[in-house]
């Protein structure tokens, strides 16, 4: 029955993988919308706590991460171009760079998190960040953690889920990268393209996280 | 077994518990308005459904009518229900604003605080001085659900009722400030057609005006844990005289209690610095 052509060419003109990725990204937008919506509501009712807490975050590490992530978006886009052109060497190079950027991002994130976990709140901070309520000694995580206050809950929630997305993106990238060194090579431009869409989306989320968590709380 | 079929030939509307609040009649009226519309729609659609099922049941030599539908018909049965349903919406609006809009809550003749907790209700009257003591959320605890500020003298004489019995006069605008100490609860007075969820950290004004003296029930209508079902309270509606009598009795015990406390405190002043209890109970 191999003469049949029941597995049709994509009718909409967009390859299956890519279309599915777009549908999935629509879903992802709604996922983060839930967080952002909640963030707006709770920010409005906890302004003081939010700006006091945002001051504790490390803008500069986040800036580094922003640049790293934007850079990885570029290398990702370029690696897709190269694979479409059939230039495997350059594909490998750019894919490798993307992975590298992803890893740097995660390392910086780890540094940032562990800084938080090692931060013991002093009297002054307990007043400002926790309205005078002493931290819960039984909290699962030490130092500054989601139970510190609503702002940090959002911080860990949003950056945490973002980091999970980064990791989830890195796994297939490493797979493709490694595969491109094997004898068969790697030649599925549509898959790389779909993954690229996903990766740009991850970048996009960060573009919003960066200002709302780290930046737009002025010092005064 | 005996009571089983009694309900089968009773009109649905006759099952409402007795209404004893001023706006209750309007709400019940709205219900029966929608009810009769629904009955009409029900009869219309069921008549067509059953008639078609009988009339057009399969017969060997009948052929169905090949017809795809008509835009005029579609348009008609889109527009007509729209008017009807929007009508219901607009018609409901008045009762909604009246009962729930916080800015439309009438000036209270009697004001009480109701604090829900797992699993019961605490009720607070302002006491002899007629002023509620200040509340301080940071002082809330199992012993002090309202979080009465221990430094506020106005709070010392507040009457707190712990056994979920609410006593109120009839024909007076009652405003209940509703909140909860822990999880969500819902303040449900079936006979008054009142229902409002209690939110932790927020005071919501609920108002009603009872029209008939007697004893009614308070229920919790929001799942709040395993004993949700047992959050039963009682509400006693009195004529003004009876209510005053009850209230005077309460106030008197409060004053006596206060004086006794004061005396005790003075006696023990030198010895220890004991915590002055903000509240006493009554029932």
């Amino acid at each position: 029955m191999s003469g049949l052509s029941l597995s049709h060419e994509p009718v909409s003109g967009v390859a299956h993988g890519k279309l599915a990725m777009w549908a999935f990204l629509a879903s992802e937008i709604m996922f983060f919308s839930g967080f952002f919506g909640a963030f707006i509501v709770l920010r409005n009712s906890n302004l003081d706590v939010f700006s006091a807490s945002a001051a504790e975050l490390n803008k500069w590490l986040a800036l580094v991460n922003t640049i790293v992530l934007i850079g990885s978006s570029l290398t990702m886009a370029l690696s897709i171009l190269q694979l479409q052109k059939g230039n495997v060497k350059l594909f490998r190079l750019f894919m490798g760079l993307t992975i590298l950027c992803g890893l740097i991002f995660l390392v910086v994130k780890t540094v940032e998190y562990s800084g938080k976990f090692h931060h013991v709140l002093d009297e002054h901070e307990i007043m400002h960040l926790r309205n005078g309520v002493p931290p819960n000694p039984d909290a699962l995580l030490p130092g500054i953690n989601p139970s510190t206050n609503v702002f940090f809950a959002f911080y860990f929630l949003m950056t945490g889920f973002h980091a999970i997305h980064v990791i989830a993106g890195l796994i297939p990238m490493v797979f493709m990268f490694v595969k491109s060194f094997t004898k068969g090579g790697y030649n599925h431009p549509v898959k790389v393209e779909s993954l690229g869409l996903y990766w740009h989306f991850v970048d996009l989320v960060w573009i919003f996280l960066f200002p709302i968590l780290y930046l737009i709380f002025p010092a005064h | 077994m005996k009571g089983w079929f009694e309900w089968a030939y009773r009109d649905m509307l006759s099952f409402f518990p007795e209404n004893v609040s001023t706006f209750g009649a309007q709400l019940d009226g709205l219900f029966s308005f929608v009810y009769w519309i629904s009955v009409l729609i029900f009869l219309l659609t069921y008549f067509l459904l059953i008639a078609f099922i009988i009339k057009y049941r399969a017969q060997p030599n009948r052929k169905s009518y090949h017809f795809h539908g008509s835009n005029i018909v579609e348009f008609t049965w889109t527009i007509l229900p729209t008017f009807l349903f929007v009508g219901i919406g607009l018609f409901s609006e008045d009762a909604w604003t009246k009962t729930k809009y916080q800015m439309k809550v009438p000036k209270p003749d009697v004001e009480v605080d109701v604090m829900a907790y797992q699993f019961g209700w605490q009720i607070r009257y302002p006491g002899p001085d007629g002023i509620f003591g200040k509340k301080d959320r940071n002082q809330m605890s199992k012993m002090n659900l309202f979080g009465l500020d221990s430094n506020d003298v106005n709070g010392k004489d507040d009457i707190i009722i712990e056994n979920a019995q609410l006593h109120l006069p009839i024909n007076k605008n009652v405003v209940v400030n509703l909140s909860t100490a822990d999880v969500l609860h819902s303040f449900f007075l079936p006979n008054f057609r009142v229902k409002q969820d209690a939110l932790p950290g927020k005071w919501i004004k609920v108002w009603f005006n009872g029209t008939k003296a007697g004893k009614y029930e308070i229920a919790c209508a929001e799942l709040c844990g395993s004993n949700h079902y047992a959050m039963r309270g009682e509400i006693f509606m009195y004529s003004q005289q009876d209510y005053d009598k009850w209230l005077d009795g309460k106030n008197k015990t409060m004053l006596e209690l206060q004086q006794k406390m004061k005396a005790e405190q003075e006696a023990a002043t030198a010895a220890t610095t004991s915590d002055s209890t903000a509240t006493t109970q009554g029932s």
Binding site: M1, L6, S12, G13, L19, A20, M30, F31, S33, G34, A38, V41, N131, L140, L141, N145, P146, S147, N149, V150, F152, A153, L157 | K2, G3, F16, L27, F31, F42, T45, Y46, F52, Y56, A58, K63, S64, F67, H68, E74, W77, P81, F85, G89, S92, W96, T97, T99, S141, A181, D182, P190, K195, L199, G201, E217, C220, L223, S226, H228, Y229
Partner: protein, 608 residues
């Protein structure tokens, strides 16, 4: 298609299940690859069907325990009372803490593990590729994944069973703060439902891709059967709604497990300590932003099925095909802006109550359009009564009642009194059991021959229908009356309230009817099992229907069709005047008749 091709197909079935089209077609697949980890959409549909029917009995069993307690509080459960675990019952009597677990798990199981898998998982998988004339889903591996996420997710959802505190006990709505201060059973529930949601999203993504991309030549969007349209729109609801639930669940998980306070305001007087600063209503907003569309996720597909079944058995074109599609779209769109009607009494801004009241009432309009079009479909038809068509008619009958009770609650001031009473419970079951489940039954009776190659026993099918329909109404109609009487939902023992004492006989009546209703469902199971073993072989097109799946061999082989498929007309061209047959399969090119068998031939997106 002839008997020979059916034989050939069976033969074919043994071979080639592999999905990469790079040769090696002819190796034998092990049992596991063929029936367990299969990527064939038809096998996955069957897997969804059997697992969901299993959970129907689990959920139904919980419901019967609930009913026992409400009718005879404090009395030991007969027969099985002493077999149940000690954390559930003492001396055979249901405990108050177990009762809340029961109603929570009943609601969750029925919604997440029964109706959604049946309506979306099973019919989506079975119908979409076949009705579009293609060989499989666009992403078969993803499809398999989306099924195999379900069993572990189901286990995790009920995982609280292993903890001393028991399963989740905050209602299927899981409102904080209650849910947050509950024990590990709640954590399990959160994770489980999150995974189920993920599985749904995977499915939805796949359906959207398949429908947009894999239509056979000639199959324009406006030639798709309504079942596929309904699934398409349902998939959009899933893709756009479910992630919001996932977000809400994640936040609740943080509150529950990591001690944050998204939904916890300051100074809660509970044993668990929180820093506060959150808002409890926020969760309700997020939850209903998903869960209202979710009720349409559960009803739209059955609506599509009913449209197909009615047109087939009335031998008539569907009345107002396009109007039906626009009504589906309108319901889906409005479904996203009405969620607040679940929160009229929650203490949200009453002004929002007004807005939500109006939008909610407006959503009745497209539903009315659908009802009238169904009535128009059977008008001047020639209705054949089978188990399938009777279930479809029952859908209309019960959905009218369920929908009308929805209009009561949609009016915010009326909702003040009936919110959280049995009036709501009656509404739920009229739309979910009476609506969704009857629609699903209709679909099962309709497509079973194609799915399994055997004709279901019609006699048993009718018995199942009559019994279910009668006992369904006897069980759930009286609940409206309980609601009017003020009977709260989710209460363990109603009779501690004086004003509810008179309702004990009615509760008893309901319980007995519910038991019989549960018993009636056994007929369906017996029928299915009996048919699979002894049933009569099904012809390729037993109902003389038009849609593409009936042009495939029975049961369809791997790859579905034995010849290339081209579509020439819409799906509902029945009884064309002057034609020889009273049906016109979408694949048949020339059918001489007096009318042109066309509806429209245009499409929103690029067509062939």
């Amino acid at each position: 298609m002839s008997a020979t091709s059916a034989v050939a197909n069976n033969h074919h079935d043994v071979h080639s299940h592999s999905h990469d089209h790079h040769g090696h077609d002819h190796h034998e697949l092990s049992f596991i690859q063929k029936y367990i980890f299969s990527t064939d959409h038809k096998v996955i549909a069957r897997q969804f069907m059997f697992s969901a029917l299993f959970f129907l009995f689990v959920g139904g069993f919980f419901a019967l325990l609930i009913r026992w307690q409400l009718a005879y509080p404090g009395k030991a459960i007969p027969i099985i009372g002493n077999l149940l675990p000690a954390t559930w019952v003492t001396d055979g009597v249901v405990q108050a803490s177990f009762y809340t677990q029961l109603l929570t798990m009943h609601g969750s199981v029925m919604i997440f593990l029964v109706i959604i898998p049946l309506a979306v998982g099973m019919f989506g998988n079975f119908c979409i590729p076949l009705m579009l004339g293609t060989d499989d889903m666009a992403l078969p591996k993803l499809n398999m994944f989306s099924f195999w996420l379900m069993p572990p997710a189901a286990m995790i959802t009920m995982g609280g069973f292993w903890f001393p505190d028991g399963m989740a006990a905050a209602g299927w709505t899981s409102y904080p703060p209650l849910a947050v201060i509950n024990g590990p059973g709640q954590t399990c529930w959160l994770i489980g439902v999150f995974l189920i949601g993920f599985s749904s999203i995977m499915g939805g993504v796949n359906y959207i891709t398949t429908i947009l991309n894999k239509r056979t030549p000639g199959m324009t969007l406006f030639r798709m059967p309504l079942t596929v349209w309904a699934l398409f729109i349902t998939a959009m609801l899933i893709v756009l709604g479910t992630p919001v639930l996932a977000a809400a669940l994640s936040m609740q998980f943080f509150d529950q497990f990591l001690g944050s306070s998204f939904f916890i305001p300051d100074n809660l007087v509970t044993t668990k300590k929180f820093v506060g600063g959150g808002q409890a209503v926020l969760f309700q907003h997020l939850f209903w932003f998903y869960s209202h569309p979710a009720v349409y996720i559960m009803i739209l597909t059955p609506m599509g099925i009913v449209s197909d079944v009615l047109a087939t058995f009335a031998r008539k074109p569907l009345y107002g095909y396009k109007a039906m599609i626009f009504a589906l779209m309108a319901i889906a769109f409005l479904g996203f802006i009405v969620w607040g009607h679940h929160m009229f009494q929650s203490g949200m801004n009453p002004l929002l109550g007004t807005t939500f009241m109006l939008s909610t009432i407006v959503i009745a309009v497209p539903s009315a359009i659908k009802i009238f079009n169904w009535l128009g479909t059977i008008w001047r038809g020639n209705i054949h009564f089978t188990a399938a068509s009777m279930n479809a008619l029952a859908f209309i009958a019960t959905f009218i009642i369920g929908g009308l009770s929805g209009v009561f609650m949609a009016s915010a001031p009326i909702d003040i009194y009936i919110h959280d009473t049995y009036f709501i419970v009656a509404h739920i079951h009229y739309v979910l059991f009476g609506g969704a489940l009857f629609g699903i039954f209709a679909g099962i009776y309709y497509w079973f021959p194609k799915m399994f190659g055997k004709m279901l026993n019609e006699n048993m099918g009718r018995k199942h229908f009559y019994w279910s329909f009668i006992f369904f109404n006897l069980t759930f109609f009286p609940m409206h009356i309980l609601g009017v009487g003020g009977h709260m939902r989710r209460i363990y023992d109603p009779y501690i309230y004086d004003f509810l004492k008179p309702f004990q006989p009615m509760n008893e009546f309901i319980t007995i009817a519910a038991g019989l209703l549960g018993f009636s469902q056994l007929i369906l199971v017996v029928n299915i099992l009996w048919t699979i073993k002894f049933g009569k072989k099904a012809p390729d097109n037993p109902w003389n229907a038009n849609t593409l799946e009936w042009s495939a061999p029975t049961p369809p082989p791997h790859g579905n069709f034995t010849e290339d498929i081209r579509v020439y007309r819409g799906p509902y061209e029945y009884s064309m005047p002057g034609a020889k047959e009273d049906y016109a399969p979408q694949t048949k090119q020339d059918i001489p008749s007096e009318v042109e068998g066309e509806i429209v031939d245009e499409s929103m997106f690029k067509a062939h």
